[in-house]
């Protein structure tokens, strides 16, 4: 099959729509993950999702159902228990290990699980069905809608919780809202890059954006653009050159962060020299 034939096959088309939706949601939510220094929570929710997916398969359900239930549950738990950002590390850690333990149990109970386990851990974007695409797109659009509507209060509660509370915002409610958004984004991102590589779309583009600009709206835009570029180019490389798509996406997203840091260093040096 030639490249153009490959690109027009239905599974590549499905993958294209799915990565587009997921990358946009992950870039936007990722900015707040980086701003709130909650990368560990994002990491934990992905792993909790693994237990959920394993449990769903054991019960004969679609993995995405288990992912949604477990990720949302963990998100709300972390949101309530760690509303003040200081306590969140311990809450996240305990949630993470408890869920991983459950995951191990579910796998041991279910024989013939190796294939499904692999796709949850590392993603299997080229296997998504049309129904999956619809669900992923709907969830991602929902996340984007809520983020755009609650952008200012989320930002306020993230950078200065005390003042935000004084102005009438509920910090606990904002924390819960954010964890719910993070949980749903994680679920859709797992469809593409898997539990272990969720960070590539959620954290790397946003971290690069935060290095490049100090204007929050610009940062959200840059994060979404970088995530989208990593996802599209990664998908294309996977089809054209071969190798897992999740590898390519991870490599590209991480490189964007590395390049941002290098660019920032040369810029700082340049400014210093011009001041001297």
């Amino acid at each position: 099959m030639s490249l153009s034939e490959l690109l027009s096959t239905s599974f590549v088309q499905h993958a294209f729509y799915a990565v587009t939706a997921v990358a946009l949601a992950a870039g936007a939510v990722g900015y707040f993950v980086v701003l709130r220094r909650q990368a560990f929570a994002a990491h934990a929710i992905g792993h909790v999702g693994f237990a959920g997916a394993a449990g769903a398969v054991l019960l004969g359900l679609s993995p995405i159902v288990g992912l949604l239930v477990f990720c949302l549950g963990a998100g709300l738990l972390i949101g309530v228990g760690g509303a003040s950002l200081d306590e969140s590390d311990a809450v996240v850690g305990v949630t993470l290990t408890a869920a991983l333990g459950l995951g191990v149990l579910f796998i041991s109970l279910y024989s013939g699980y190796a294939n499904a386990t692999y796709s949850i851990l590392f993603g299997q974007i080229l296997g998504v069905t049309w129904d999956d695409v619809g669900l992923v797109a709907a969830l991602s659009l929902g996340v984007l809608l809520v983020v755009s509507l609650s952008y200012r209060p989320l930002l306020f509660a993230s950078v200065d919780a005390q003042s935000a509370a004084a102005r009438g915002l509920s910090i606990r409610a904002m924390s819960l809202l954010f964890m719910a958004l993070l949980a749903i984004t994680t679920v859709v991102a797992i469809q593409i890059v898997g539990v272990l590589l969720v960070f590539s779309l959620l954290v790397a583009p946003a971290a690069a954006a935060e290095v490049l600009t100090s204007r929050p709206l610009h940062a959200v835009g840059i994060a979404m653009t970088l995530a989208l570029a990593s996802a599209w180019v990664g998908l294309f490389f996977g089809v054209w050159i071969g190798g897992p798509v999740s590898f390519w996406i991870t490599a590209l997203a991480s490189s964007s962060y590395l390049l941002a840091r290098l660019f920032d260093r040369t810029r700082v040096r340049h400014v210093r020299r011009s001041l001297a």
Partner: protein, 281 residues
Amino acid sequence: MRDGAVSLGGRTIWRRATFSVEPGTITAVLGPNASGKSTLLNLILGLVPLSEGTLRVFDQTPRRGNRRVGYMAQSRAADSTSTLTGRDYVGLGFDGPRFGWGRDKAKREVIRRALALTGTTSFGDQPLHSLSGGQRQRIALAHATVFSPDLLLLDEPLAALDLAAQAEIVDLINLVRDTTGAAIIVVAHDLNPLASIVNQVLWIARRQVRSGSVDEVVNEAVLSELYGHPIEIIVTPRGRRVIVGLEEEFAHPHPHPHPMGHVHDEEAHQHLSEVYEEEIT
């Protein structure tokens, strides 16, 4: 406030608080750590209820999100690492709590005025982490005054600042009072740097809140009770009064012979690190 008392988690923080705050005046709130100074601000903000007594803010019961009350929090943890610009942070003071897509056209002008008032226009577009402590406090004041509040609450605005930056912020607080006519309540653990601009002092000691003028508070007995530690007031040759803490040994003298036969230099026993020269008029 009349006969106010507050308890958190079943423990009484303080009681029998009666005071009022007039427009265009500055009130300092003094007291040891964890004596309930910030709690007083939280009451006014409507974040904590009174357990006894009444509190009226502009003739209403306190409510959260009242725009007539400006608030500058004590430790904005994100500050020193924040990549946000000062202008964006001040903007959050304007429409930060609002959900939705709409943009308020007045925002740009309101921010411009707040930056101009606090003298932060020149560095308003730099990220907060690149600013000095004093510059960040100025930005925080711009954030708190964005609605030109009639009552401005400042929680430890001088904490962790060097002497020059403290003097700068004190001048700015005075300027804000003069230009806006707001009533300002400043929580502080040290009266020295503020004494020249303060009209009223509230002090919390032994779970009671009392009020008085600076002259009534700057009194060795009152201050020693307030801090639970012996205090001495020194009058400098220029007529300034300076509050210093004493070491226990010196506060309760018990003569004992020195091995070398020297007499202790009294000056050496004072915590001179706590000393600031301040004019009290």
